[in-house]
Each structure stands twice: as C-alpha cells, then as structure tokens.
Symmetry: C2
Subunit: 436 residues, 2 copies
Amino acid sequence: MQPHELTATEAARLIAEQKLGAEELARSCLARIEARDPAVRAWVTYDPSKVIGRARELDKILISKGPVGPLHGLPFGVKDMIDTVDYPTENNSPIYVGNQPSHDAHAVRIVKAQGAYVLGKTDTVEFAAGGRKALTRNPFDLTRTPGGSSSGSGAAVGDRQVPLAFGTQTGGSHIRPASFNGIYALKPTCNVVSWSGARQYSPSLDTIGWYGRCAEDLTLVAKAFRLRGADALQRPGVKGLKVGLAHTHNGTKAEPAGREALALAAKRLSSAGAIVDEITLDADFATLNDAQTLIANWEGRAQFLPDYLENYENLHEDFRLKIETDGNMTADAMRTIYDTVYRCRARFDALFGADLDCILTYSAPGEAPVGQHTTGDWVMNSMWTMLNVPCLAIPCHKGPNGMPVGVQIIGQRWGDATLLGIGESVAPVIDMPASG
Amino acid sequence: MQPHELTATEAARLIAEQKLGAEELARSCLARIEARDPAVRAWVTYDPSKVIGRARELDKILISKGPVGPLHGLPFGVKDMIDTVDYPTENNSPIYVGNQPSHDAHAVRIVKAQGAYVLGKTDTVEFAAGGRKALTRNPFDLTRTPGGSSSGSGAAVGDRQVPLAFGTQTGGSHIRPASFNGIYALKPTCNVVSWSGARQYSPSLDTIGWYGRCAEDLTLVAKAFRLRGADALQRPGVKGLKVGLAHTHNGTKAEPAGREALALAAKRLSSAGAIVDEITLDADFATLNDAQTLIANWEGRAQFLPDYLENYENLHEDFRLKIETDGNMTADAMRTIYDTVYRCRARFDALFGADLDCILTYSAPGEAPVGQHTTGDWVMNSMWTMLNVPCLAIPCHKGPNGMPVGVQIIGQRWGDATLLGIGESVAPVIDMPASG
C-alpha cells in the first residue's frame, strides 16, 4: 500500500511511531496528484517544493522535539474559499484571481497548530454559493460531477490524493460530495468550528466540515477542534442502537440507487442488532428545504455587497440578483420563515434521548449525475443544515453505474461527539462495498 | 464652526457642493485629535500624511469625475478589531501587536467604495470581548469611562474628533458608549451588515454598527449599506407615533440619571403628540440578559481556540477560561437557552404593528461611571442584542455630574429603515440638552 492510500488515522500513527516520514507521505500524495489531477482537476493550486519543505521540517521537529500535535505530518486540502497564507484564495471568482490573504482562516490555524499543513487549495463553486462551477471531475467517472460546492476537496480525498480536506456546507455542499466520492464527512453543529477567514454566504447556516476516509479520521480532526466530548468519545456499539430511519418529505426525490443505499444501510444495521424504526417529521419540516434558499439569499445580500459595489462587471449575476431583488421577499415573510426554522430546531433536538440515538437518511438522491453543468441536487441536505445539526456521511454501496452512494447519520445540536462515536460503531456495518 | 464639528450629513453636503474640501475636513479632524487625544486616547493608530493624502485624492476625484458615492470625503474611525489595510488590527491583544491584515473588512470596503476613508483605528476592549480595557477616557470627564468595548469609537465621535465611526455589539458594546459619549448610534439587525473581516466572538450576536452626531448621520451610512427600505426612508413624524415604554426586568438597575433620561424622553414624546404606553415583557424575556453571557461563552470557545493553541501565554485568562471550562454548561442546558431566545425573537417582533411603532428604553443605567477599571454595565443592552433587533441610541440630557445620558429606541428585526425614520422624527424632540 502506498502512503497516499492510508487513512489519516493510520498515517498519523505511523508518523508518530517514526515508521512513516511526513515527507514520504507528502511525496506519495504529490505523485498521486501528478498522475491523476490532470484528469480530476481537484486542485486550484499546490506547490510541491513548499509541501515537501514543510513535511521535511515536520520530520525534523518530530525527531528533535516530538510531535507538534495529534495531526503531526498530515496534509490537508483546503477549499479555495477558506483563507490560507500558503496559497492565494480565489473563491473561483474572476474578482479574486491571485488574491493572497495575509492570514490563515481560524480552521487552518487550528490544524496547523497541531502538526498538520496545507497541501494546496481545492476547487469550489464560485464563493461556495452559486455562479461558476468548479472544473473538478468525479474521480470514479470523469464524465460525472464530484458534487459541489466542495467539489475539489471531495474529489481529492475520494481519489486518494490527500487524506483530509476541508469543505463547507450552507445547503448541501459538504455531505453530497462525500456521497458522490465515496468518502466520510463531518459537517459539525453550526458555529462549533469558527468560520472566521472563510468566505461568508449565510452566517446562520455556513459551516466548515472535513472529509476523511474512515469515521476515525473524522474523530481525529474533531479532537483537534476540541468539539465538546470528543476527548472522551464513546463507541456505543450497534447492538440496541436506536436509529430513526428518515425518508423525509424529500424522499420522493430519491433515485433507485439512493433508495437502495438507505435500505441497505438500514438492513445492515438491523442485522447487526440496531433498532431501526421509521421516523416521520411533520409538515413544518417539509418547508425547510425551500426556506434554505430564501434564508441564504436574504443573508447573502450583505455578504456580496462589497464585490457588487467594487466590481459589478465581474460579479456573477447569481450574486448581483441577491442585492437587486432581495429574493423578492418581505421582512414579514422572512420572520415567519426564521420562526419556523427556530421552532423546528427545538423540536428536532427534542426527538433524541431514550427513544432515539441518531437519524439515518439519504446523503444524496443517488449516484453523481453525468455532466459538468450540474453538481447534483442538494435536496437531501438543506433541511439538516437549517437545523444546524451535525451530519456524518458514510459510504454504503455502489450504484448501477459503479458509482459510490452513501448515507448520512444525524445527531442533535452539539451532539457532535455522540454522533462521531455512533459513526465509528456503525461505519464498519454500513460501509461494505464488497457486498453492496 | 470648525469642519470637525460638522455632522457627517452636513459635511457630506458641503463637500458635494464643493464648499468644503475633504482635505480641509481631514485637517480639522487631525487638529482636534492632536489637541485632544493625548488626554482622551481614543486612537490606537492614525497617520496624518496618509489621511491628508487620501483626502486630497478624493478632492481631485470630486472635481474631475464627481463624487465616488454619498460618503464622499468622510473619514471613519474603525474599532481596532475590524480589519483595515491602512493600519494594523491589534485587537488590544499582545498577540496581535503590529498585525497587518491584507484586506479590509467587508464593512470598510462598503464605505470606501462610496467615497469614505479610514482616518485611523480606535481603541477597544481586548477582542471586543473581555480581558484588557481600552486606554480611552471619557471626553466629557477624563476620570470616567467612555464605555466599552467600542471605547475609542464612542469617545472619538463624542469628542468631535471624527464624524463617523464603526463599533460592534455582542452584549452592550455599541449602544452604551453612545449614551456615555452623548452621541447617536445604530446597531442594525444582526447579519444585515457583513461581519466578515471583524474579530468574531459570538456569531449569533456579533453586530457591526456605527456612530454619528445626529439621526441623519446614521441614515446616511445605512443607505451606503443598502439596509432594506433605507433608500425610501419615511419620517412618520411624532404625532400619533405609538411608543412602547419598556422599563424591562432590568429597570431596577437604572440609576436616577438613567430613570430621569427615560422619563424625560417619554414626556417630551407625549408632549409632542406621541402615544406613549408602558409595555411589559414577560418572564421569558427576563432570562435573556444572563443567557447572553452563556451564549457568548458557548460560541466564543471556538473563536479563541486558535490563539489558545498558538499563544497560550499571551491569551488573557478571560479567553482561556472559555476553552477550559466551557462556561460550565451542558448542551442540554444550552438548548433550553437557545430555544428561549428563539421564542422571544418571534414573540418580540409580533408586538409591532397596529399598536406599536417602536420601543423606548434605557441605553445605560446612568452616567458613565468614574474609573478606568470599568466600562460600565451592559445590563440595558444584552436583551436587545439577543433579540437580534435594531437599536438606535439618542442623546437625551445631562446627569447630575454633567455627563450625557441617552435613551434608545428599538424596532423589529429587519425594521432598520422604519426605525431610522422614527429616529429622525423623534430625535429633535428627545435630544434637547438645553432643557435637560
């Protein structure tokens, strides 16, 4: 096995035990990128000499002082709307070509302070919000989308080019690419990871998450972010686990491959002793997907105003319209929408406890669609983003075209560590591609 | 009258009419600063040559091409936790001494794009959140606090050193200094002004606002930010205006000078034909002030983690504790708190309409207290910040020690323009220092 094929958890252990050099891992990732990225196009920028230089430095530090932290020697892909000092942050916008921030985003500082480094920047939908698509292709089938807006991060981890990467989710930008690229993802509870230094779109929804190749990879990063309870994470096991199977009001949008993934995941969990019961969310929840678009427009208006004023010609119409039409909404109508969302957050969290440990639901309608004109449908994601709850994506099977299809498990707000523990328990049961 | 004594509205008009040069205004402000700031200490940094250079440039542009925008030639003070390319952003933290951002915060970009410029950076409580106090003194009495955390911005505008300045509010950091320094302030609805590029503390509360010397100054800036409805602002007049006089559950904390200000404002409005009725908010609202501290701690944890990991020794204990103790709260307890806040937001907004145009309440308990060990009590502010609603501070009278004491009017979420129109109508009635 080549180092680039290792999970982050395995690589971190081998590096700490001095059985693998950070440089060796870096070179393996770079070789994979050089072989594959001309076709996959996950990366906007990366600099091999910078990467090798930093990895070497970390190898020296390990020997002389011990590990900087639990992420010692691990490279991250960083979605190109999250600021980095190592590379420009271009937001896939013509306005930001060559744009070099002076500071790392908080999320980047946190992983660097614990021994990780930035391998490069990954392609994104413009501002992670609309406009231009990423140029990235799905590594499992280059005619298909890797999903979006975290297109490059999802594809890079899925293609074994880098073990870990940051993505973001405002609607369905993080969990959907996980499904399309056959990888694991955590979108934490909103605001438990600082958004500072990432390009804001809709502050009450915007959430930074990360991709990995197993549930333990997600936990490794969650510990670095000191998510509440992550330091004393419990694996509850599968037996007796109370799982709410949620088809949701959007279930009719599921394709056969998506339905099969969810049914398979439920069946595998039941067979392993979990108590899987269908759970129905009432009509209030059915409004949340449409409301997500309205809130993102309503809040996005303020976030794109500087570019609108400074550089109207180069700002995509998607963003101009947020300012010019204000989503055609009134404050009264928006008040009703926010109040419904707020009510749903409280009611959703109240479902958890004696009768429910986690929700199991779709990550995406089905396989990644063909074409570069689409990033797929985020219909299976927006509701959960609106609830601000943690979502953990798990690969499940291969669809009729051989494409990965995943599911997600969902917890209550600030239940990130509980969800990660459940994720570690259920992943080996759900993620069985051989039998998929 | 010296140019530095002009309101922003007057200065903008005179500049547009070419009766006042931007350079002339800049030199007048700089002279005032040089005369006064050794005592007041509102400014962390300002560079006269940079200021005069930019003002001169704006004068040339005006003649050759006309005004850049409605803020042409106006200088802003910028609270030193909001990023600027012109000056370092030091956050009043030893960690950030000399820290030079590569980009302006969104709020700064927006006013620059419309002809304004940054005069300098104003002192702040550490990270606008705790720790070290600003060195700023109250310009009306140097033995007293100007309030905080927007200490320098409040004092600079109050002392006629600059016509406009940005502050921020997460608890009571923007409206309280307005009262203590005898000036006008708008804290808009949360998230209608982008926070991007300002130092985050508690994302569901953090709000950038601005100071001016009359209600029209606040509107001028609100139009630059395209706050909804500000372009077609209506002044409803005072006659028949339905004002809810809210003593709130915190009214017992009001000092005689604060009570007198509120009573005077109510009486002046009644005399001018407004319908002023006492309004009582129920027990749920009484919990919001304590809840503000808990939410700020709960959310602040993620925001100070990078500094905690990188620079523990230089991070004030106030911020270390957010990470180490997590406010001693559980997720279950925090869920209850958020749900109460959410419920109150909906219920508060529902008060407005046929029976209520705005709330009238305290801006601060009373006069600015003596001493540099305190920035005064934000007990009259936190509840409104928690409700995310727009708050507009209006000077009202002088207390027994000759210090200014103001009041605030409050609207419903996204009712910023309505509140500004009311503010313009009621300000000449409430703000009568001669009779105060």
